[in-house]
Subunit: 188 residues, 2 copies
């Protein structure tokens, strides 16, 4: 027996990322977990209409998506609570400008993507920026045999109902593999 | 020192969900981890252009998003590997039609959202359906004090580079809370 919860969004957990944009020449950072994957090199970030970064991203036309590791959880939470309109967050992190877009990349984040705004979708409370990834930067330390290793990256997950950040847990199974048993079963 | 990875999409892990749609009257299910949150009750799913479900969703104008628990990992992987065009997946799961849309909801998934297609965005390899959540259904067993409890839900996370499914790990910190220390620091 299922309970109805109304139009409740339960598409969690989502990765909590730090989105960077220069506003009036100064880097600003906002925490966003309402993100999405659109196509191979295209992602989305959903920004509340009233947020300082929203206008900044629309004006700049570029932004960065920085994947923090678990040890940055205080900074992640802080950047989601405090508006750049009132608080200067530009000195919180060592920043390098992206080569292609100039979007501010956070050195302490092991992974950063610089993105160009391809489109903006407008909803009642949020504007969603569709970003084309222009270049991705990565610490060598989170790679294993040339691929990003989630156990080294240790990204933060956000779960709305529990109002909490979580780590990534153990590996459950191999993709494009564990389901093969059922293919045999179906085909047999 | 950062390494450049090109236009690599590193926005992982993402929740692996089972998307349901009726095609020619028969329920079909596809695994999708390229999802997103747009607005409070609006989500996105990215479907490869060649997939059987893509046309099905466009025609039906409705779909379900079912959140599987860890024990469904074989079925999740299977539904991502095998096309409904060649294999009948309609009897894999006990299914209930959503009250509002008729989209097929998987009883074994502790959480399901029935969605109406609001828009479709076209990219080079994928079409992205923007879905308005019409109703959400939940097993009582995954609730704690009326909220979804991630430790009871035990959703599956997908990480592309490792080609694997992962569980949700331990709670790292409280959101809208752990960052308060830094507010003191900034303001002081």
């Amino acid at each position: 027996m299922k309970i109805k919860l109304g139009k409740k969004n339960c598409l969690y957990p989502m990765p909590a990322v730090l989105v960077g944009v220069k506003i009036a020449g100064r880097p600003n950072f906002i925490t966003i977990a309402h993100v999405g994957i659109m196509d191979l090199s295209t992602i989305s970030i959903s920004v509340k209409k009233e947020h300082y970064s929203r206008v900044g991203i629309e004006k700049a036309g570029v932004f960065s998506v920085n994947i923090p590791s678990e040890e940055l959880v205080k900074e992640v939470d802080f950047c989601g609570m405090v508006s750049g309109e009132r608080t200067d967050k530009s000195t919180m992190f060592d920043v390098v400008d992206g080569d292609a877009t100039g979007a501010p990349l956070i050195s302490r984040c092991p992974l950063s993507m610089e993105c160009r705004v391809l489109d903006m979708l407008t909803f009642s409370d949020h504007d969603v920026f569709i970003g084309g990834i222009v270049e991705t930067y990565c610490d060598e330390g989170v790679l294993a045999e040339g691929e990003v290793d989630v156990s080294k990256l240790r990204p933060l997950l956000f779960f709305m109902d529990s109002r909490g950040y979580y780590g990534v847990g153990g590996r459950i199974a191999d993709a494009w593999s564990v389901g093969e048993e059922l293919i045999g079963g179906e085909g047999g």
